[in-house]
């Protein structure tokens, strides 16, 4: 354990005495960016020079202007802590291997990103200082698509947009399943962070199948059936033989995934989206209670989004269109604005997929249950071109949009967003308690409860968008304080995050317990003795 704590202390907290550079990372001569602890300027410049020898000078970034695109982040960071010192951008497996060997030689930490667009989780920001971003966006080959099996094999830099365009261009009747910022996000990156989408294939890691991984030693390992010479089942059979390894490379820093297999849903003959409108904030438990049996039985097969009116309004409206600047966002004002836009206080979106006959069979059962919960069950016939209905209608068939970036303009223009995503079992009473706790905390810090529940097969992801004006220094600091209080107080109730941003990875890792941390650290030290891969990712050092 002492080794674990030493590495955490060195990399995470104690920067006193660390070497620094005056270029890059938003640093100035007065406030230079720190190098990774224990590394000298000679180590850093040696590594950067060697990286240039691998990928060419045009794909290594170290000066202030060139690093700037890697610094943009929405998360709270009042201490300017989550800044990289450079970036290197390979285009092949062999280049990744060479970079990893150089990183070992100079003990230069690498923070790997696929497309770097996870929005409110930190984008390309590393969790600890002194890291060079290993930017895999140039590795964007679609390697295989099997239209019969409904599988594909992708490199990490492929975006959902590229995959969809490829399927459309080649008239392959398979769907993709997108997170809310699909056009610029990566299927590989999102799956490795265990993100979710909104078709029946929405639990992304469940539909992952086979990986190619560069280990911290520079060796290449294939998981599942991928290491069997001549196997045709790498993208068809998830488990391979022996311990299941793929999970080790999600939300972790044990390897660099350079190829990933994924299952794609056949386009159904009929797709029918629904919205269920409930009128009161207090309707939370009855919605969850009505939806759970439909999800557990798989009568409703897609991951539902149960959206609060305030979250929905924040996508396309400005806060001062609802209440004056400085005034609390009260329920009466929200309800009035929601009603004017065809929304309820909670708006739950689900869809049916099948044939006319199968949908006609299950729709009355679902309608009866949701109507009994006090909801109005609505379809395209009633909602027409309502922009919110259109947004979810698009998402639930794997369609692409960036509407949720509108959230960043809800409150001022500074662009501040941090996702807080605690998990609970899908029970109404838990959601009721979570909503009450979240509202108490965010309102005390002067923020709004702009939240949604993603209703999974048996779980709830409570997705709280903490929106703040990053251009306002006092508000920025309050957002940082608020986020930490959310993590700590939810954790005390047994609700920990399923995923978190670089601003809180260590805090959340602590909640999952010392035995779990020590196990992860033991693995980490065994396979990455120089600590070169993403120190601090998910609180693992």
């Amino acid at each position: 354990m002492s080794l674990d704590l030493d590495r955490r202390g060195l990399l995470g907290a104690g920067l006193v005495g660390a070497a620094s550079i005056g270029l890059g990372t938003g640093a100035s001569a007065a406030s230079p960016a720190p190098l990774a602890p224990g590394r000298s300027m000679a180590d850093f410049t040696g590594a950067m020079k060697a990286f240039r020898g691998v990928v060419g000078a045009e794909w290594v970034f170290g000066d202030e202007d060139a690093v700037a695109p890697y610094e943009k982040a929405y998360i709270p960071d009042p201490a300017h802590r989550y800044k990289p010192v450079g970036a290197v951008c390979p285009q092949s497996l062999e280049e990744v291997q060479a970079i990893v060997r150089i990183a070992n030689q100079y003990r230069q930490p690498l923070w790997t990103v696929s497309t770097g667009k996870n929005m409110g989780y930190g984008m390309t920001s590393p969790a600890t200082p002194g890291q060079v971003v290993l930017d895999l966006k140039r590795m964007n080959r679609i390697l295989e698509v099997d239209a019969e099996l409904g599988t594909c094999l992708l490199e990490p830099g492929v975006t959902y947009q590229q995959l969809k365009d490829y399927l459309d261009d080649n008239k392959i009747p398979l769907w993709i399943d997108v997170p809310t910022v699909g056009p610029i996000a990566s299927p590989v990156g999102n799956t490795l962070d265990r993100g979710v989408g909104y078709t029946p294939y929405g639990e992304h890691f469940m539909f992952q199948c086979g990986m190619e991984v560069v280990l911290p030693s520079g060796e290449v390992m294939r998981t599942g059936m991928g290491s069997i010479k001549g196997s045709t089942a790498w993208q068809a059979f998830k488990w391979g033989y022996g311990p299941y390894l793929d999970g080790l490379f999600t939300q972790s820093n044990f390897g660099i995934v350079t190829k990933m297999g994924m299952w794609l849903m056949p386009r159904p003959p009929v797709y029918k989206p629904f919205m269920v409108r409930h009128g009161d904030m207090a309707d939370v438990p009855r919605i969850i209670e009505a939806m759970r049996p439909l999800r557990v039985s798989n009568l409703v097969a897609n991951c539902n989004l149960m959206m609060s009116a305030s979250y929905q309004l924040a996508m396309f409206k400005r806060r001062n269109e609802i209440v004056p600047d400085g005034a609390p966002l009260d329920d009466d004002s929200v309800k009035k604005a929601a009603k004017a836009n065809g929304l309820g206080m909670w708006n739950t979106y689900f869809a049916l997929y099948g044939t006319d006959q199968t949908i006609a069979g299950v729709e009355p059962i679902i309608r009866a249950s949701l109507t009994a919960s006090g909801g109005e069950v609505l379809t395209a016939a009633e909602m027409g071109d309502n922009p919110w209905f259109h947004h979810h209608q698009t998402l639930m068939q794997g369609g692409l949009n960036l509407d949720e970036i509108g959230l960043l303009r809800w409150r001022g223009s500074g662009g501040g967003l941090a996702w807080f995503a605690p998990v609970a079992a899908a029970r109404g009473v838990e959601a009721q308690r979570q909503t009450a706790l979240a509202r108490e905390i965010v309102s005390r810090h002067g923020f709004d409860y702009t939240a949604a529940y993603a209703i999974g097969w048996r779980d709830l992801h409570h997705i709280i968008a903490l929106l703040f004006d990053k251009a306002d220094a006092a508000e920025h600091q309050r957002a940082d304080d608020c986020y930490k209080e959310l993590v700590v107080r939810f954790g005390a109730q047994g609700w920990a995050s399923y995923r978190t941003g670089v601003n809180s990875m260590d805090l959340v890792a602590q909640q999952y317990g010392e035995v779990n941390r020590r196990f992860n650290a033991t693995l980490k030290h065994a396979i990455d003795p120089n600590g070169i891969l993403a120190p601090g990712k998910s609180g693992i050092f």
Partner: protein
């Protein structure tokens, strides 16, 4: 153009366009869309494609301000793409290549307004 001038221009983005500026230049000829082949990296895209696949999801759709038909200086467009402006994310050279950005910034600067776009 200095960095501070670019920032001032960026800050002025939500203001109405100047029609006289918007009419300078003229949009270049429309290029055929490039398609990505299996096993190959994404080839260089035309400005129209980059706009359709990235910028246009927000700009002109109520999420970001309208940028076409406003005669925005190409240099300001390049700066904002690389740094992100307020709610806008930054786009790295690995996402929009230097060659794509050079063409895109000229194209945005010279393109006429689109009637179907709306935004604030």
């Amino acid at each position: 153009m200095t960095r501070s001038m670019l920032i001032m221009l960026a800050a002025a983005l939500p203001l109405p366009a100047t029609p006289a500026l918007a009419q300078q230049g003229g949009a270049p000829a429309v290029a055929l869309p490039v398609r990505q082949a299996l096993g190959k990296v994404l080839p260089q895209r035309s400005p129209e494609q980059v706009y359709a696949k990235v910028c246009g999801y927000c700009h002109g759709r109520n999420v970001g301000p309208i940028i076409l038909g406003r005669g925005l200086p190409a240099e300001a467009v390049r700066y904002i793409v690389r740094h992100g402006q307020n709610a806008m994310p930054a786009f790295r050279p690995t996402e929009i290549t230097p060659a794509e950005l050079d063409a895109l910034s000229q194209w945005v600067s010279q393109s006429p307004a689109r009637k179907e776009e709306h935004g604030q």
